[in-house]
Amino acid sequence: MIVTTEAASEKKPVEDQSLESVAIRFVGDSGDGMQLTGGQFTTTSALFGNDISTFPDFPAEIRAPRGTTYGVSGFQVQFSSTDIHTPGDIVNAMVVMNPAAFKTNIADVEAGGIVIVNEDEFTKNNFKKCGYPEGYNPLEDEQFQGDYKIIPVPMSRLTRESLADSGMGTKDIDRCRNMFALGIVYWLYDRSIDPTVKFLTDTFAKVKNKPEVAEINIKALKSGYYFGETAELFPVRYRVAPAKLKKGKYRKISGSEATALGFVTAAAKAGKTLTYSGYPITPASELIHHLSRLKHFGVRTFQAEDEIAAICATIAASFAGDFAITGTSGPGIALKSEGIGLAMMYELPMVIVDVQRAGPATGMPTKTEQADLLQCMFGRTSESPVIIVAPQSPSDCFEMAIEAFRLSVRAMCPCIYLSDGYIANGAEPWLLPDLDAIEPIKIEHPTVTNNPDGPYLPYQRDPETLARPWAIPGTPGLEHRVGGLEKQDVTGNVSYDPDNHENMIKTRALKIQKLADIIPPLTVLGPEQGDVLLLGWGGTYGSITTAGNRLRDMGHSVATAHLRYINPFPKNLGEVLSAYRTVIIPEINMGQLRLLIRDRFMVDAIGINYMKGKGYMVQDLVNETLAIMNR
């Protein structure tokens, strides 16, 4: 069905319809401001009280030539009146700014879904740029007309017209088209435009000191909104009621932001200073961007010459007594391997953030994946275990960032914080924590020697945790040397003694296993025993949880559980696994957690493994699980 402006002007009465949730996607050229548009829609919906979940999808190119398919940028948000965990499998409504975006995204829209199109960009020239055959106009394709509610709007023209007397140049005016589109969507879903008006005023008028830019954007936004109202393109208007979230104060937060806040909080809870060393890499760079703005929290950021320098500086900062962090993505982890191995030998605390992206090699840098788990477990010479934690959602990043430091400090061992592009870039509502309720992190730097009769003993361990003391430069009497050669336990001297070597190898592993005593047990959603356990980790939390709900709704005995602690595993993991006839492990890799589980627990776990540079569709997970159950 193609809804034309003409058709709309027949003035059918506009109905209201309530929906539980809606997934909407904004797509256009990289220069079209789709990320900002989607972000605004998300904030507004969050402020309205919906539960939200987002998925931005950038191209690898910064700003590829306009109109090409590889220059398409997208932003999807699901907003809901119930608890949701994913940005939605299928798009209910899509805003399309040009043919390239149409071409690359249309297949994801549900049958009968709304597609609002900037028809002014659907020109011959643009069809050619994105590779449509000559003479073909997708808007005229009957197949599409049958499948979707396509609503062409001459957005470019209308925006220009509405801003004609602003006195601004065409280039600036054309940049407001996204706000015009957003206005339409706000009207369609009955949202207030106020938060965006405030945002535009704050950003352009206050921070960038360009009030005229704020003005035309606001005007375009309003024009779009009024256009929606007056043009009556839509026979219905949709309402999505606020969600019944847990009581409290909320904000929208992305994984990157939550991680930064978590680290700052961890440092505050320990009375420590943060030092972040990193080298830019997508999608981890956001972390240094956030932290470098927190200098008034004493946070030091060091943009190193490469990833190797960054891990080395991090180790040194830890030796000097800071809460030290380095962050990167897969290729950077590879470069840091040697350094991480040394950090483990030094037995110093620090956090190494890996925001996974689709590999291997350079791979698809702007896409997500979960395939660095085994690299993080084993990617170092010899036996070099480190702690590994993995946040499961954007807001969970806050807690796991704190946990990373808590564990690292307790065991005096580096901790890898294994996030991914999906979590880091995604956003959801975050129930603001009560800072006072967060346990302090206890740090004790020794100030007097543990060996009055001789040199200080840097490897004399705490009998409970097996951690060595963290004596820092500046402390008189505790001068000592650390090094990567095998060291004698207790004294820390270089040692080639065979038995000591074996003992040290075992001790370094045991320290980590002992952390299982203080990490929370794995919790299960659904039946405590039964047919199937869907076990996951990391960014697939949303889809697995939703799939579990759906399967239980269908009457199946399916539980879900999500591992946020990977090395060590929660103590009760073996027990949990043994309570189900079948264990299924969905991962965006070829079966990496599955390998660890099979080895450790001799459980014949089955994998659901997708590697498409993006998260699971809930429905695919449901179908695959059913297929396994019916084998």
């Binding site: 904000r251 200098k295 004493g298 080395c312 180790i315 040194a316 000097a320 030290a324 430069p473 090094g483």
Partner: protein, 343 residues
């Protein structure tokens, strides 16, 4: 600035309990002695000093100094040193390591620490060979060097460590020799006093795999002809009879005899200016056998702020502007909304 509250330390206070494990006759011993002698003169507390190294024979250095120390990984000492200073600018940080470590695998970190002007001291123990891995050629080995990995001679033009340091805008550059203990002590003290990155190349003899590599510059018979001592503001003179010198010729230097009967006077000779980076480059290029090699302080620039000071200044400035960060406010920043009971 000697601090009167400081205990008076001696070389032996900087001697750790570890046996020194270098080969008998290794030039590293002399440098170790020099360092132990210089450290008490810096007015620093033992506990505020950190020695950092990579991997190699030279890189065993930190084990033998009774301060804090980090024996790290091959080539990365400058990155560790930078991390230490970012974290704690008050530490006195020293890098002591070998030519392979600093210039082969570690060249990039070396260049970056220099251009950032991190306030640390680098001592390069240049023996023109890989000692610890048993005698392959290093990036400072001369062309044609026959070693285990180059039985027909090496085919890499060597790196000139001083030229590279000049090109990396290092703010203090000097050179000395392992067995010239007095000179070594003096130059090392100057290096230590410099605020910013200091780089001291020491000609060091590897008794086992490259013995006599520096003989031309260390032997009594030859050294007056093959080396000369730089002094700021003073003419560049050398030779057993102190009758030769260096004179400008365009932007370069040439060897001349001066004094009676030569038509050249001392005043015609080039005078050393430690603050002239172009001159530093020209000096760094002087090489045996065509030229005598300069010893002492080649370049010094005390005008640039160090990296870590600027970093900490920004933090102070941010706090001044925004006040000490309020965690609660940070968390509650931006658009927030409240979900209350009823819903």
């Amino acid at each position: 600035m000697p601090d009167t509250a400081l205990p008076t330390l001696k070389a032996k206070d900087f001697t750790s309990d570890q046996d020194v494990r270098w080969c008998p006759g290794c030039g590293d011993y002399a440098v170790l002695t020099a360092v132990r002698k210089v450290l008490p003169n810096l007015g620093r507390r033992k506990e505020d000093i950190v020695f950092v190294s990579g991997i190699g024979c030279a890189a065993r250095f930190p084990y033998y100094i009774d301060t804090y120390g980090m024996h790290t990984i091959h080539g990365r000492a400058p990155a560790f040193a930078t991390g230490l200073k970012v974290s704690n600018p008050d530490l006195d940080v020293w890098i002591v390591t070998g030519d392979g470590d600093l210039l082969s695998i570690g060249g990039n970190h070396t260049m970056h620490i220099m251009r950032r002007n991190v306030d640390i001291n680098i001592i390069l123990l240049n023996n023109k060979i890989y000692g610890l891995t048993k005698g392959q050629y290093s990036p400072t080995s001369e062309l044609g060097k026959k070693t285990k990995s180059t039985p027909m001679g090496s085919i890499d033009y060597p790196i000139n460590p001083l030229s590279l340091a000049v090109g990396s805008h290092c703010t203090f550059i000097a050179r000395s020799i392992d067995i010239d203990v007095k000179h070594l002590n003096v130059v090392m003290l100057e290096a230590a006093k410099h605020r910013g990155t200091s780089f001291l190349e020491v000609y060091q003899d590897c008794n086992i795999f490259n013995h006599k590599a520096w003989f031309y510059a260390t032997q009594k018979e030859t050294k007056a002809e093959t080396t000369f001592m730089l002094e700021h503001g003073k003419p560049m003179i050398f030779g057993a009879d102190a009758n030769k010198g260096l004179r400008f010729k365009g932007g370069s230097l040439e060897v001349v005899e001066f004094g009676e009967g030569t038509g050249v006077t001392v005043d015609d000779l080039a005078h050393h200016d430690e603050t002239d980076r172009n001159l530093a480059f020209t000096l760094s290029q002087l090489a045996y056998p065509d030229f005598p090699e300069p010893m002492g302080v080649i370049y010094r620039n005390e005008k640039l702020e160090s990296y870590e000071r600027m970093l900490h200044n920004q933090i102070d400035e941010a706090i001044e502007k925004k006040g000490v960060g309020d965690l609660h406010a940070l968390l509650h920043e931006g658009d927030t909304w409240i979900v209350d009971d009823e819903e």
